[in-house]
Amino acid sequence: MKTLTKLAGAAALGALMAGGAMAEGLYTPNLAYRTGPFAATGIPLMNGQKDYMELMNARDGGIGGIAIDFDECETGYSTEKGVECYEKTKGKAIVTQPWSTGITLQVLPKTNVDEIPILAPGYGFSPMADGKVFQWAFNIPLSYWDGASILIKYLGSQGDLSGKKIAFLHLDHPFGKEPLPYLEAAAEAQGFELVPIPVGLKEMQNQSAQWLQIRRERPDYVIMWGWGAMNAGAITEAVKTKFPMENMLGVWWAGHDADLKIVGDAGKGYKSVSWSFPNPEAPIMADLQKYVVEPGKTLSNAEEMSGVFYSRGLVISMVLGEGIRVAQEHAGKAEISPADLRWGLENLDITEERLEELGMTGMVPPFSTSCNNHTGHSGGWILEWDGEKFVKASDLIMPDSDMIAPLEEKAAMDYAEANQPWPVNEECGG
């Protein structure tokens, strides 16, 4: 009898699993990190991404008439688990969203063989912008080199940087080291001194040694390439050591409301570059309330939904959604292949008009991509913490493409040569 019960149970479980596997739609897995040391920054981003796709399914019946099968594979921000997730999901996926520069670098060569687009919005390897070399990789709408360039441009607008000292406080991880080639080139070109200060994973919450170095070096500015608990750790130490907060700036991942709330008023003046901005009045927010929040389909809450990171999650899924839509129109079918999606992501034209149609005015700057330009280089805003929330502190600032483009091209070619045989898209004109 017991055996029979077990068999019946197994059959029921099997039926359930088979049902799950048969879920129809475009499979767009997200290599999420809702657990581990970086969960605090991951959760609002993942929630925003998920909610956008929930909205598409609930309000529009998917995209182009086909449902979006948005699935998450948990990595805990671990590169090893991320690669496992990629291998597990690649079979039927039309895209992979690796969510870590370390994972992106690992799966980058694999996607050339598997022919699946990598969508890494605002992260990954900056030279991925070169679509001729990195045919399957997209870091829309800004690369880390773009971000560093915008920060340097902003600081330059505050006064000549020649002879100044800039401390670069960064996570000792591929993500944290990514902007160094640009910053080193900018330091040489503009005559400022760059002091790289790495923060180990285990030191994220106790950065006293790094901030003692900052006290000793007396930099004019601190640029922070922080992630997860490192951000709150750094801002707490900056407050403690009385570093002028208005002279501290971070990358877009170091501009998380929850990190700044830990210091509150003491963090006033801290700035972060961003390619997204929350707009509570945007029509999409009302739609999310109606189609996702009220039916209980969200994992988020009102406070999180008003923040920068949730809003960025929405933008990231919008980029994917628009890539799918453009690909469907081009291919003339709803059920697109990864190669179709690659075409879609290479032909995005997100104008002010399109953002208005999407109900997302002001949430991301307009941008467009091409076969040769896999980033879009949208430009970004400088946001400032006012003690309670981030507010815009600048108009849109564009990256210094004249300086970045040759660096990207050289780094992309170096990468291709070091990873021979590496297919290059010779048909890519621009």
Binding site: R34, T35, G36, P37, F38, A39, A40, G42, I43, P44, D172, P196, I197, P198, V199, G200, L201, K202, E203, M204, Q205, N206, S208, A209, Q210, L212, Q213, R215, R216, G228, A229, A232, G233, T236, K240, T241, K242, A258, D259, K261, I262, E304
Partner: protein
């Protein structure tokens, strides 16, 4: 090069003694917190020979429970009492559900069981509290958050009042623990179990009671550690990572020695900070704290395999 290694660092120390004091203070604060985490490991190892992999997640779980209870509108100090109750229930549950069925199993099985406890607490904690970064209720607990600014030799020395509080509370906790272990019946029972399991059991010491007790004490230590570290950079699952900082402390001080955990923690906290500031940053680009403590512990192990204060085990074959 020789100048950079042997002369310049000491010249820098003498040139800016206020800065040296600041380095030593930061090292002391880190060290006493490392010692606290290491104590949690040592207590459990002494009484049960279990290397408790779950100590780090217990810090997170205790801190999250405290903040979560307070967020429900419960006053801060009542939240502390309730958190301690939760840690007691956790200790009882671990003893009943995990450890008791594994009595007599090889050490590695018990170690694996604590990995299981870690994974369970991560998942359970995420479900109950979510993974978002939360603000520690520092002010609500009456912990001062201002700084004391001193000017020794005309320089600058900044002492955070919450760091001073952490050092004082951790110091008191260590003294209380030493008194408990040395002067009370229960404390002596824990030590007896650490010295000889069979002999302790034969004189009527209850293994179950002692295990619950040491896991509960480890829970108290986890709560104090969670409050101290959480006050610095918020409460999130990232706090778990700091438990790994206790591993070299245990290697250095010895897995069984309470004195070793305290002295090892303080030594590593201060030496790694001094090395990072005066040698690591100028000569190696910084971030030497990631490995310095392990190298120091390995050097000690070369000469004293049982650690500085560990017991030398001689097994006759």
């Amino acid at each position: 090069m020789l100048n950079d290694i042997f002369i310049q660092p000491f010249a820098d120390m003498f040139a800016a003694p206020d800065f040296l004091l600041q380095v030593l203070w930061e090292g002391l604060v880190s060290g006493i917190l490392y010692a606290l985490i290491a104590l949690g490991f040592v207590l459990i190892f002494r009484s049960s020979r279990i290397f408790n992999f779950a100590q780090g997640i217990m810090v997170v779980f205790a801190a999250l429970t405290l903040v979560g209870l307070h967020a429900m509108g419960i006053p801060a100090w009542i939240s502390v009492a309730l958190t301690l109750a939760v840690m007691f229930v956790l200790a009882v549950s671990i003893e009943r559900v995990v450890l008791r069925p594994l009595v007599g199993q090889p050490d590695i099985i018990l170690f694996m069981a604590t990995i299981g406890i870690t994974l369970f607490l991560i998942g359970f904690g995420e479900i109950i509290f979510g993974g978002e970064n939360k603000v520690m209720i520092t002010e609500e607990l009456g912990i001062p958050t201002d700084s004391v600014v001193l000017e020794p030799w005309g320089g600058l020395l900044i002492l955070e009042q919450k760091d001073i509080t952490a050092v004082v509370v951790a110091g008191l906790l260590v003294v209380a623990l030493l008194l408990f272990l040395g002067k009370t019946r229960m404390g002596r029972a824990i030590r007896a179990l650490g010295d000889d399991h069979q002999a302790a059991l034969s004189v009527g010491i209850s293994l179950q009671t002692i295990w619950v007790l040491v896991w509960f004490i480890a829970g108290i230590i986890a709560l104090v550690t969670g409050i101290a570290w959480g006050a610095r950079a918020g409460v999130s699952f990232a706090l778990e990572v700091i438990a790994y900082k206790a591993l070299p402390v245990l290697m250095l001080g010895g897995l069984e020695s309470i004195t070793g955990a305290i002295i090892g923690g303080l030594m590593i906290g201060m030496l790694e900070k001094l090395f990072e500031i005066y040698w690591g940053q100028p000569l190696m680009g910084g971030n030497t704290e990631t490995w310095f403590a392990f190298v120091l512990a390995l050097i000690v192990l070369l000469f004293r395999p049982q650690g500085l204060f560990g017991e030398r085990i001689i097994e006759r074959v």
